[in-house]
Symmetry: C2
Subunit: 340 residues, 2 copies
């Protein structure tokens, strides 16, 4: 049995933080002590973990003394302020924010894709963006068989990615809209955005802020992060990211062009044998992945695998995963498991 | 003023039929007599059109005697049974079903794209599939400036495309789901489908039946119909079509590759001057098309126009339209207007 370690979860009262605690217990992560940290606003709350009560403490630099693994999911500014501090005090920081992902020397890890990268850390390991994770879990085994030429992605992203309040807002908006009441919008496209839009019964083609050339940051992340994770600095990925009225579970329509021949049947067989993936692709029985059914599961689901006849070597695929689990909490815990 | 004509609407009590009647009145289509036709089940209902009462009559071959324009939207089998009959009795049939779209000699018309084709009819003109219409309204003016090489489309299609019952079902499912009640599913992916799925807070990556190579029919329609409408038999279009929990208004993420250089700014300017289109593309102000706001409008909205750096000459765009209006009813009436 692995030696026991001391663990901290930063952002313990948030959607991903709570899921991290759940996944730590579920996967029997060998922790001796568990410290739940959050802002002063949430400190004092009591959470149940494996039948035991844990009081949420306020985050301070000293709180990381003696911690072996610190899982951060409290936003970019908290990660920037306390991540390096926690690492300096000896913790391995596994950070779910955007703070360090593209920083040189910080491994960006999806255990099914680049597990070895985790070992080269200097105290901080970054957990990739949710939509990138589920995309590269599918792309990696295909790339290993036949090099990728170009990827066109269109996403269908759940509101859970915008936090607990956004999920509550989708529920409230849906009820208010159906009852003919005024609909209030605060969280989509983002809490700090200059305009807010109803997401219930709507599609909002923006995730994160707009950065350059008409792209929003989520679209840029899908390019840059997949290049870094897959170790393919020239990989061509273009994305359109869209927020949809789903509580939890991101979907992606993936169009993939390869440098040589790879049939749909070959791809199906490769994906069937790849780690972390479940192929659900039986159109005769109308079986394909859907977010409502991937919700609560750690696997990445893939289906609708079919040839694209508009290029020499092309495939279309449909990829669905629980963005809070595999896209955030589970992937973070899996990274720590690589190091144990 | 145009001479008055006698008009029939077949499927007058359905979602598209009712919208056709509304649009006929709204656009002051010069009808003398208006005959509302439906199955025996719906016959006898009384509908108000322009402040006047109209009784819905049962469809029979003789009902088309004296009719100049017959707008069909009652499904493929009714179109096949009565369409040629109506044409034989002298009516110009404008058919919104899939019955005749790919038939040689039957024009498939989007007035902004191929208006001249309408004149070559032999009694029947087909109205294209909804998602195809909004796509070609955007592609045509671009193609006129710079030939298209390849199009990758991912759709986000509203339940109104599956009929009034599907819209009611989305509402009911949303309420039942939020109240923790059992959710019933009857209409998605299709009324006759061997499995039915909840669409509320879900994504269903299937429209119409599966046909071949893992493609569903909607995806095949988007290829074949756009080739026919645009008069480009070699046009390369690959699509993934997805039903989303939106009442009305289809969205499409379009990735377009051209044979030569076309910048995002040039595309924006071309689309700004093209018929039937509204460019809504100001990312500084977080302005882009969304189905909730295109609902009720006849225009095709386009935004998120940006360069795709993964190919030599590529653009990404986001296209939204009211699928019941421009995707069905309005386009049908506009076809008749071409002939007046």
């Amino acid at each position: 049995m692995a030696k026991k370690v001391d663990v901290a979860v930063v952002g313990a009262t948030g959607m991903v933080g709570q899921k991290m605690i759940e996944v730590l217990a579920e996967r029997k992560f060998p922790f001796a002590n568990l410290k739940l940290l959050a802002s002063s606003r949430s400190a004092g709350q009591v959470l149940m973990v494996g039948g035991k009560e844990y009081r949420v403490e306020e985050i301070t630099p000293a709180a990381f003394d003696g911690i072996d693994y610190a899982f951060f999911s409290a936003g970019e500014s908290i990660s920037k302020e306390y991540g390096p501090e926690a690492a300096r005090r000896g913790a391995v920081v596994i950070d779910n924010s955007n703070a360090f992902r593209m920083e040189e020397g910080v491994p960006l890890v999806v255990p099914e894709v680049n597990p070895d990268a985790a070992k080269d850390h200097k105290g901080i390991i970054a957990n990739p963006n949710c939509s990138t994770i589920q995309m590269v879990v599918v792309l990696k085994p295909l790339q290993d068989k036949m090099p990728l030429k170009r990827v066109v992605a269109a996403t269908y992203q759940a509101v859970s990615g915008a936090g607990k309040e956004a999920v509550d807002e989708l529920k409230q908006q849906s009820l208010d809209y159906l009852e003919g009441k005024e609909v209030k919008a605060e969280y989509i496209p983002g809490k700090g955005a200059k305009r807010k839009y109803q997401i219930a019964f709507n599609m909002v083609p923006q995730l994160d802020v707009f950065v350059e050339d008409g792209y929003c940051k989520e679209e840029v992340k899908m390019l840059n992060e997949s290049r870094k994770i897959m170790g393919l600095p020239e990989l061509a990925v273009t994305a359109t990211t869209v927020r949809v009225p789903v509580m939890n579970g991101h979907s992606i329509a993936l169009n993939v062009e390869f440098k040589g021949s790879l049939s749909a049947a070959e791809a199906r067989s490769i994906l069937n044998n790849a780690p972390g993936l479940i192929v659900m692709d039986n159109t005769d029985q109308l079986e394909y992945p859907m977010p409502l059914f991937a919700d609560g599961d750690d696997a990445v689901y893939v289906g609708r695998i079919r040839p694209d006849y508009t290029v020499e070597h092309g495939l279309n695929l449909w990829v669905v995963a629980d963005n809070i689990r595999k896209g955030a909490a589970t992937n973070s815990i899996q990274i720590a498991e690589l190091l144990l």
